[in-house]
Amino acid sequence: MAALTHLEEEKLIKEQGYNDHFYDHHHGDKHQMGFITKYIFCQDHKIIAKQFLITGIIWAIIGAGMSVIFRLQLGFPEADMAWLRPLLGKWIVVNDDGIGSLDPNFYYALVTMHGTIIVFFVLTAGLSGTFSNLLIPLQIGARDMASGFLNMLSYWFFFLSSVVMLASLVLSTGPFSGGWTAYPPLSALPQASQGSGTGMTLWLISLTFFVVSVLLGGVNYITTILNLRTKGMTMWRMPLTIWAFLITAIIGLLSFPVLVAGFFLLMFDRGMGTSFYLSEIFIGGQALDNVGGSPVLFQHLFWFLGHPEVYIIILPAMGLVSEILSVHSRKPIFGYKAMVFSMLAIAFLSFIVWAHHMFMAGVNPFISNFFVLFTLIIAVPSAVKVFNWIATLYGGNVRFNSASLFAIGFVSMFISGGLTGIFLGNSTIDIQQHDTYFVVAHFHIVMGIAAFFGMFAGIYNWFPKMYGRFMNETLGQIHFWGTLVGAYLIFGPMHYIGLAGVPRRYFRFDSFETFKQFDALNQFITVCAIIVFALQILFVVNFFYSIWKGKKVTSKNPWESNTLEWTTPIKPGHGNWEGNIPSVNRWAYDYGKDGVDFIPQIKPLAEGEQHSELHQ
């Protein structure tokens, strides 16, 4: 038995594939002829994926650029920032000696926007939006999403949300500056902070649009996965990417509406004089009439989304990494079913752990017992996933390229960041670590860097499918090594700053004896952050350069992969397959089975051959 040739593959699809009469009805490209319908108001999932990706990249540059500016403040608080005046204008306050310094209002706005942008616009829309759109129809064997129109709306709501957020950046009072978690009363009362006025209003509107986008996308992903799988593609034959997208979409659908509910109550408190979150407040020289509300209620509503949100970010990355590690190790993913069940377990647990963000927020300490228990249980499925990824490498024939390196880096980051989570999930330790730099280091590694690594791995791996060209491999590897080493050098030292008790979100540390001991470390972190930022620019250059000038893909299946997306033409048109839809006869991970390098999913079982896993 040998791997399939292209001719055999075409023959298989022709003979065994499913004829859905797609091309008989002419509803394919007919409506997508013009530039506008093809590239702007497009309903093709592949174009929408690219729209999500490129919008995400633009936001990532803005969000990461902001972190460079506030890192300059943290590392070099005495340095002259007057040179940033052309960009930031009045937010740089220049004194009589001509020394410019960052306005604390804008420092807090930067911190807030950095969080909001990276969490929602980059790692939710840019990661999940891109790859769910690109891979779901291609990997399950569908012509497109269940509703191309809703899918298009999903992107345009994201776009609208982006425009509103962008507008808030240029307000004279600045964007919202009360932290990405937007806790009231700070976020509810314009008199509490400059950013809580119009900036906050726009923030709320923007994120409400964003939730609409996520929900429209999510409904589509779930429907498509459940209803449009091709012949033979049972649930247990789906690649882990698809499982990850399905579970992610379900989590999003269940948790985002709760966030919107929380936002609406906040809008009422801001504009209509209600007291959902406000009680007994004296601010700006006057006692407010609001009584009976509770700011803690908002935290419950926020984290009921906020916690699942971190899994919305990390699960797609996990799916991509599982697939990439398997393909490039030339080995089946170890423990496919354990991987699926652990994702389901993580998804379920993600809904009953939200208050671990609130151990020190005035919640009854007795209730915390349950949240500690469930939170630390998450370590078990997470550990299973890590062990399975490592076992996938074991005995493999690992092909090193940018995609597989970033996938290995993902596992390393996920281990490091996951282990520090065990400290924070334990409420006793959280008394000390809550809201210190230890938390900052923890979540940046586990859901920031790790998710970015998953995203980079995905981009390098599926770039040939998106653009019919490869990204530059050498630049990719420079990007990988620099980012891997740099990310550890940025966030490793932050753990120590946190362990010394330094709280996060401080504009300066010099007034506290306890917190001011780490100037050298802060400078080091800032320098590393600038270098890592430069490397990401390198990635962006590589990305756009390769779209037009990259090495051309010459075969349909450059990675010798089993999944269906590599049976489409090199540059698939609308409808993905030119003739029949291929049918599926086996799971996605028959790599190295019976000595054969890879056996695509479309290939029927040979005589006497057994399925590699049960229940397929």
């Binding site: 940033l84 004296f282 370590a379 809550h434 090594w481 120590y496 506290f512």
Partner: protein
């Protein structure tokens, strides 16, 4: 200028990298694909192994290097009784996660190194192994159980409120943008009622003077507490969320408007004792201000501090208050010197709802005309309360 240099550096890194990319690509073309893939595979595998080793060694080295700055180690053992438990659970977790960290990272990078790609190499086809998977599910489950049980036992003990018959000091910390007011209950050991609607220029906390319990309450400009005595801090806020954070005591709790919270702790080390401990470590013999090499040393300028640990607006980073733990005798002396807000600033002024009325235990002819008289009043009042 700085900006220009940074921009230049970014551009340079990008340009150099792009050039390297082109050169390598050219070299690969000359070498032939298979040869260059083999070289790439060997080189990458080697560097992955180097990175794995460096990551672990770097982590261990940096832990050692920073241990005297970290809370829980060296001079920074908790200064409160419950803080010791926090530290011990923390250390237990460090050991457990440290072992897992080393084992998994070693396995990850070693396997990546060992199983580097070679054309035509046969792989081990193992889709799953139920026995192995069972063990590596059950092992983390058991380890987690240990951490959960020990953590929660400590947690419920630490967070338990005081019992009524216990001997404790209650103080109140009121946060606002951007400072703290610390209120002591005075001789009656009971904090008087407050109402946020009564807040005014002369009554920053909105104390209700019709409640006699407020009369002996005083506001201190530092937190002063005796060593070895249980303290219950009533934590609240006037405007937005804040957080009452005493790093050396492992105390942290949100301050919420309209919803008072509390934290109970027992300070165990006086500030002087803590400083003497710091003095033993070379890190703290360095000058506190690097620009002034002959100025006071780090251990000398050290003090316990209260900070805010919940984002509250632009002054979030500046909500500092000095905390002093002293011997019970010193505390007694300090306490007796404090002046009640009511009798020193409010009594018989226009703001006093009791104006003209005679208060229980107060001499008939009291007025606030002279400072001496006020002091007498306070003493008399304290005496009468003590008798009760």
């Amino acid at each position: 200028m700085t900006g220009f240099i940074i921009l230049l550096a970014i551009v340079l890194v990008v340009v150099i990298s792009v050039q390297i990319g082109k050169i390598v690509e050219l070299a690969n073309k000359i070498r032939g694909q298979e040869e260059s893939e083999r070289i790439n595979s060997d080189r990458t595998a080697f560097w992955l192994l180097v990175f794995g080793i460096a990551l672990i060694l770097g982590t261990i080295w940096s832990c050692y290097h920073y241990k005297n700055f970290m809370l829980g180690y060296g001079p920074h053992e908790a200064a409160s009784i419950h803080g010791k438990k926090v530290d011990s659970i923390f250390n237990l977790t460090v050991i457990i996660t440290g072992i897992v960290f080393v084992l998994t990272q070693v396995a990850l990078f070693y396997f990546a190194f060992k199983y580097k790609g070679r054309p035509g190499k046969k792989v081990l086809f193992i889709p799953h192994n139920n026995k192995l998977e069972f063990y590596w599910t059950i092992t983390p489950a058991i380890v987690m159980t240990i951490l959960v049980v020990s953590g929660l036992m400590a947690w419920n003990e630490i967070m338990a409120d005081v019992k009524e018959d216990e001997d404790f000091i209650e103080i109140e910390a009121v946060a606002y943008q951007f400072a703290w007011d610390i209120r002591y209950p005075g001789m009656d050991h009971k904090l008087g009622t407050r109402n946020y609607k009564l807040i005014s220029g002369t009554n920053g906390l909105g104390m209700d003077w019709t409640d006699p319990k407020t009369h002996d309450d005083f506001i201190a400009d530092q937190i002063v507490l005796p060593k070895g005595k249980k303290v219950r801090v009533r934590i609240t806020s006037k405007d937005v969320l804040h957080n009452f954070y005493l790093p050396q005591f492992r105390v942290k709790m949100d301050a919420i408007p309209g919803l008072p919270t509390y934290f109970v702790f027992t300070p165990e080390k006086t500030l002087e004792e803590y400083k003497l401990e710091l003095r033993k470590y070379p890190e703290y013999l360095e000058p506190s201000d690097p620009k002034d090499p002959f100025g006071p040393k780090k251990w000398e300028t050290f003090t316990y501090e209260l900070g805010c640990a919940e984002l509250c607006g632009i002054g979030h980073y500046s909500m500092r208050k000095v905390v002093k733990i002293v011997s019970p005798e010193e505390y007694e002396q300090w306490f007796n010197k404090q002046k009640s807000v009511y009798f020193s600033t409010v009594r018989n002024t226009v703001d006093d709802p009791n104006k003209g009325k005679i208060l229980a235990g107060e001499p008939v002819n009291t007025s606030v005309e002279t400072k001496d008289k006020v002091d007498t009043t306070v003493i008399i009042l304290k005496d009468s309360l003590n008798k009760k």
